[in-house]
């Protein structure tokens, strides 16, 4: 292992990337993007071995890619909350569920909410809010939920916050299971709308249909790139610097005039909105939303992605999301062992490499500082 890490260090990819001229970076990004777009059709050996549908019973490759990208969106959002602002949110699945359910409740002609609207205002049978209008509704609801959850709880100490957010995630799930009049309870909601698009000329199917999975993948990829770009802008803005200051030392940040509460609330709300977008894409692709899809384990999985990848580092979080979604799909026979492996991986990563696989440099230095402090105290004894 040390040899590998030495080799990795001597390549010094990060440094090279940062000092490379703009045109080199643009070409490399372009090539990476082209590869990402081409992935669903990958058919050249030996590269095709990464496909998940080679063996019988393997999962649909485009479907897996879509899930990976949706989870990458989740990781992007959760990275804002955990990695940048340093708030441990164990109820992130709640926002994911809110996204999926907002779309289902307003967009599906079968949901109790659209029925209620139709009855109330005498609208025609089968009326529902169009997909494009559902997106801002979902984002608005998630933002509101983020603020409603965050406002009373963000003043709490870090570990209390974790437990309360976990409670929030469970409450959302229990409400979606029990509130029959609002969410159809355990039966779920069918006919969740898909994004608009031209009809397929050959089959007459809608543009986004369950068979042509690659279209979903491309859509999600586009959304992911847009969100990465937005979050990047935020990270290097005044808001991003404030998050960093709060994460490192909230009191010192307060002395410097950074309002901890305000920026934590920002992080929470932005994270919530991104989580809702991911949930919305998930619900739309499934065209069916039901409560068991949002169990608490999913929250732990999301946290595991960010933390194993390297919290605070966007590339790390994306890499974590990729690993955690892709590996169990590729090695399907091991899928029952998935939670066990997460547990082991979480403990090992935290003990051996608390900064994550691809760490955020500043974060790694913070941890190193604390370790040195502890050593100093130990030698003083």
């Amino acid at each position: 292992m040390p040899e590998i890490s030495e080799l990795w260090k001597s390549v010094n990819l990060r440094e090279r990337w940062e000092t490379a001229p703009t045109w080199v970076r643009m070409i490399v990004s372009g090539i990476l993007l082209a590869i990402a777009i081409y992935l669903p059709f990958l058919n050249v050996l030996p590269f095709a071995y990464i496909r998940t549908d080679l063996s019988t019973g393997g999962s649909d490759w485009s479907g897996v890619l879509t899930t990976i990208v949706i989870y990458m969106i989740v990781a992007t959002g959760l990275n804002v909350v955990i990695g940048m602002a340093g708030l441990l949110d164990l109820g992130y699945v709640g926002f994911y569920a809110i996204g999926a359910y907002s779309l289902a409740l307003f967009g599906s002609p079968d949901s109790p909410v659209t029925h209620w609207f139709a009855d109330k205002f005498g609208l025609s049978e089968g009326w529902s809010v169009p997909f494009v209008a559902c997106v801002p509704i979902a984002i608005a609801i998630a933002l509101a939920a983020g603020v409603v959850l965050g406002a009373p709880t963000l003043r709490l100490r870090g570990d209390y916050l974790a437990i309360v957010t976990m409670g929030f995630g469970e409450i959302i799930r229990i409400i979606s299971r029990n509130a029959n009049g609002l969410t159809n309870g355990p039966n779920g909601i069918t006919n969740v709308p898909t994004p608009p698009g031209p009809k397929d000329p050959d089959t007459g199917q809608p543009f986004f249909n369950p068979i042509d999975g690659y279209r979903w993948y491309w859509l999600c990829l586009a959304v992911l790139i847009l969100l990465i770009w937005l979050v990047r802008r935020l990270e290097y803005s005044r808001v991003g610097r404030s998050w960093l200051a709060i994460r490192e030392d909230e009191d010192a940040a307060a002395v410097m005039g950074v309002s901890g509460f305000k920026y934590k609330l920002w992080a929470f709300a932005i994270g919530a909105a991104v989580g809702a977008i991911a949930g919305l894409l998930f619900g739309s692709k499934q065209t069916f939303v039901e409560p068991t899809g949002f169990a608490l384990n999913l929250s732990f999985l999301f946290v595991a992605m960010v933390v194993i990848g390297g919290s605070g580092n966007m590339v790390g979080a994306l890499f974590g999301a990729f690993l955690i979604t892709y590996l169990p799909e590729r090695f399907r026979g091991l899928s029952d062992w998935r939670p066990f492996c997460f547990g082991v991986a979480l403990v090992l990563v935290m003990i051996l490499r608390p900064q994550g696989l691809i760490p955020n440099r500043r974060r790694a230095r913070e941890l190193e500082d604390r370790r040195l402090e502890a050593e100093e105290v130990a030698t003083d004894d």
Binding site: T153, P339, F340, G343, V344, I351
Partner: protein, 321 residues
């Protein structure tokens, strides 16, 4: 809002809540002890309880005890359960501290890292019973719920017009209170207990006074684990069931109980546990049992918002200096 039901069976429901609450209280002790000394939420404590319930099942099958077996075997099995469950739970708690927490303490890791490690441990433990042991030994391990023979048949000991109390309810409540009193006396009066309080108050000064910090930390994990083991035994006597993920909800509720009573405060755990048990049972009677699990979370949020130090205030250190 089913007020009629609540008032018609007020006594029974209250006793039921107190029984539940006693188990929460015993589990809450583990959270409170560790928090009091290390300022750390030991998220894996719920699985320590879970291991206890499985150990009870193991102890019963070891002596071949079943619902129909003779009195001698029943007594042996019960005593064995009361001995082995705390042992196994304490062992699990100790293992978690040695394997996962100690390396982190050496590095002075921030609380977030501890919490994530604890989640990892908790996953490993649940999956050990849900998956790994199932793969090796097959049933009863696995993801399905397993029933545990109820060796003590349920009998009504008190039966008045307004209240009926069964033998297991009395056993659970009395055992829980006895254990709490014993632990309280241990921490407040014994030499080792004084060490615990000293480390909780000021680790550095305690070290100067010759208190071995690592040993105290191991001691609190063992004590908390043993209490969770007793709770597991009582739980199986009362509810006759276990499952690989049984710890999660009980853990969350016990943690809520600890915070409600004032985390870090031993007596607070008892008060918090009993109050939470009763509130939960009332609310599930008033609304429906579907909403029962929401109660704990709502109570937790309300307590943290309005009185974050809980009913009795947080302090293991100031218990009785």
């Amino acid at each position: 809002m089913n007020f009629h039901e609540l008032f018609a069976h007020f006594g029974d429901i209250t006793v039921d809540g107190l029984t539940k609450g006693s188990i929460y209280a015993l589990v809450a002790l583990g959270y409170t002890l560790v928090y009091g000394v290390l300022k750390l939420i030991n998220f894996a404590h719920s699985e320590v309880f879970m291991v206890g319930t499985w150990t009870v099942l193991g102890a019963y099958s070891l002596v071949g005890a079943d619902e129909g077996s003779g009195v001698g075997i029943l007594i042996i099995a019960t005593v064995l359960g009361f001995l082995l469950a705390p042992l196994a739970s304490a062992g699990t708690a100790l293992a978690v501290e040695r394997i996962a927490y100690r390396p982190l303490r050496r590095k002075n890791a921030p609380p977030l890292i501890f919490l994530i490690t604890a989640i990892g441990c908790s996953l490993v433990l649940t999956e050990t019973f849900g998956q790994a042991l199932h793969a090796i030994f097959g049933p009863p391990f696995g993801r399905a719920a397993v029933s545990i023979p109820s060796l003590i048949p349920e009998k009504e000991w008190v039966n008045l017009s307004w209240i009926a109390i069964s033998n297991t309810q009395i056993l659970v409540i009395v055992a829980a209170i006895v254990m709490m009193v014993a632990l309280d006396a241990f921490v407040n009066r014994s030499r080792l207990g004084r060490g615990v309080r000293a480390v909780a108050q000021d680790p550095d000064t305690a070290a100067l006074m010759g208190v071995n910090q690592d040993r105290v930390i191991m001691l609190i994990f063992v004590l908390g684990g043993a209490m969770a083991g007793i709770a597991a035994m009582l739980y199986t006597i009362r509810y006759d069931i276990t499952k690989f993920d049984i710890g999660f909800l009980i853990g969350v509720k016990a943690f809520t109980a600890a915070v409600l009573g004032g985390i870090g405060n031993l007596r607070g755990a008892l008060v918090g546990g009993l109050v939470l048990g009763v509130v939960e049972v009332y609310s599930s009677t008033l609304f429906s049992s579907n909403w029962e699990d929401v109660t704990a979370f709502v109570v937790l949020v309300l307590v943290l918002m309005f009185r974050p130090t809980g009913i009795l205030g947080e302090s293991l250190a100031k218990a009785r200096a």
